[in-house]
Amino acid sequence: MRKGKHLLRTSLIYAGLLLILLVFVGPILWFILLAVRPSETVFAVPPVLLFKPSPAAFQATFIDPGTNRHQLFNSLIVAGGAVLLNLPFSFPAAYALSRFRMRGRKNIMLWYLGLLMAPPVAFLIPYFVLMSRIGLSGTYLAMILIMQTITIPFSVWLMKSFIDEVPVELEEAARVDGAKWHRVIYRITLPLVRPGLIVTSMFAFVFSWNNAAFPLVLSNQKTATLPIGTLSYFATAGATWTFIGAAAVAAMLPPMIIFLVLDRYVVRGLTFGSIKG
């Protein structure tokens, strides 16, 4: 009797779980199917689930003629550049906020957080006007610079949570032995938080990779990132849906893979280090 009830409960939980996964993962699979569909089945009614998959859309978007290929590289340059530029700025700040109880510490942390909460379009308009004036509009640099409004505050918060975990005693011991500040940081702290720096950089990469508002305004035809390039398919009459599918799948795979790799740190990354998970 008890066992029967238990079994029923377990199967109900699994049924609920299956339904949840169907709702939240199903559409992703449906989108991936779009990218390999023959175009006549794109809007078939009723929907066609079984067909011979074809790589034609990937071929057209990334190989020949490869309309979206250079946009893929642009996305890599912008997101990669944003992460690289951010490290020398955010690591020292995170270190200071973790190690020193100075005045204004909490306010500085909250200011960074406030920037993460701010509407990106608000900075975008004046930034765009200023960048056009100095002739930087349309350059990678303009995009990489404004991405710092996301990558620096995010990285400071997440890195700080990793530096907090390195026992301060190790640094103190080295300082008692007469080592200078920069040597202590370089020789002791940095190697110990390296995994944290890598995790932080990977999340920061995803956030800049996924940002569309900045490149939408600041890129030109040559520097457009992948989602912005994909957007232009909608401007042509009769959107080429299989191409949109292929380009979009290429845009969503890197973040997915990074999140799967970082599984253990996902909650921590998404909450900027404030919840350890």
Binding site: G16, L17, I20, L21, F24, P27, I28, F31, L34, P46, P47, F89, S90, P92, Y95, L97, R99, F100, M102, K106, I108, L110, G114, L115, M117, A118, P119, P120, V121, A122, F123, L124, I125, P126, F128, V129, L130, L145, Q148, T149, I152, N210, N211, A212, V217, P227, L231, F234, W241, G245, A248, M252, P255, M256, I258, D263, V266, T271, I275, G277
Partner: protein, 310 residues
């Protein structure tokens, strides 16, 4: 340290205090580069916008401002029906989205809490919608909402739900809820995963003790679990509230604010005024109205949520 300085005379005291001052400045020196860069790319442009907000300036008419008009742009923004419609849409989207996503997320988190085999796989898969760029989620839902054969109209029709002839995104009655649904699809998993992590940290013996005392599942949730995850819960609510308030990408791809003004959000209207119509003066005034609202919201959070942090 100060004692020995006194013993060794004023010269050493001077050296010591200089060293102490240097030590006190050191953390600020480490923070300074990031602050300078962020001020250069955010605060400086915002003050540039503040200046522009008092000028009539349309880039289509000329590269320079065309004249000082005082608070004219602010007046125009606050009396324009488009801006007010955007404000209302944004509030509707933000409040309903936050409530629905957090509640549904909490329900899913509680389901995940049953320690059964396969849960960790389910958790890893569940977060996938959150990893996708919001603009790509827009592509995905534009495909699924398509009135000529999209999956969602087909499913709804099969279930006997009437669909507007112009499509879900084409009708003023269903367009905003359709955007809300796409956002919920992306962010409910986020709420679920984060709240699940918090629920796991509730000590098992507390739950067991309450169960032995005969507490119902509902009492346990309300009296034990929720109070213990309060901090995480308020963090999730804050994040969702602010990100929904800034909704832009989904609107850009799915509806461009239409039909009419039915799906315009503040973010989208700002973009359209400033970067499609190039009405820099008016857009700058809107920027500052929004900046003041966002700062007020963040201020409320600092007062209530971060009060007892650290």
């Amino acid at each position: 340290m100060s004692n020995s300085a006194i013993e060794h005379g004023p010269a050493l005291a001077l050296v010591a205090s200089a060293a102490r001052r240097r030590r006190r400045l050191f953390p600020y020196l480490l923070i300074a580069p990031s602050v300078v860069l962020l001020v250069a790319v955010t605060i400086f442009p915002l003050f540039f916008a503040l200046k522009n907000s008092f000028f009539f300036w349309n880039l289509q008419m000329g590269p320079e401002p065309l004249g000082f008009i005082g608070f004219g742009n602010y007046q125009m923004a606050l009396t324009s029906s488009v801006f007010m419609a955007s404000l209302v849409n944004t509030l509707v989207l933000t409040v309903s989205g936050t409530v629905l996503e957090v509640l549904l997320g909490l329900a899913i988190a509680l389901l995940l809490c049953h320690a059964l085999p396969g849960m960790s796989v389910a958790r890893a898969l569940l977060i996938m919608p959150t990893t996708i760029a919001p603009i790509v989620v827009g592509f995905l839902f534009r495909y699924m909402y398509d009135p000529t054969g999209g999956l969602i109209p087909w499913l709804l029709t099969a279930a006997g739900v009437p669909i507007p002839k112009v499509g879900l995104l084409g009708s003023g009655a269903t367009a905003l809820p359709s955007i809300l649904f796409a956002d919920m699809w992306q962010w409910t998993p986020f709420c679920a995963i984060v709240l699940y992590a918090a629920l796991l940290s509730v000590p098992q013996h507390v739950i067991e003790a309450a169960r032995l005392d005969g507490a119902s599942a509902w009492t346990m949730l309300r009296r034990i679990r929720l109070p213990l995850i309060r901090k995480t819960l308020s963090f999730v609510v804050m994040l969702r509230f602010m990100q929904l308030f800034n909704t832009f990408d989904l609107v850009l791809v799915l509806t461009r604010g239409g039909p009419g003004s039915s799906t315009r959000t503040l973010g989208y209207t700002l973009y359209q005024q400033g970067l499609v119509d190039f009405n820099i003066g008016l857009a700058s005034a809107m920027t500052w109205i929004i900046v003041i609202m966002v700062n007020a919201l963040i201020g409320l959070y600092v007062l209530f949520v971060f009060k007892d942090w650290e």
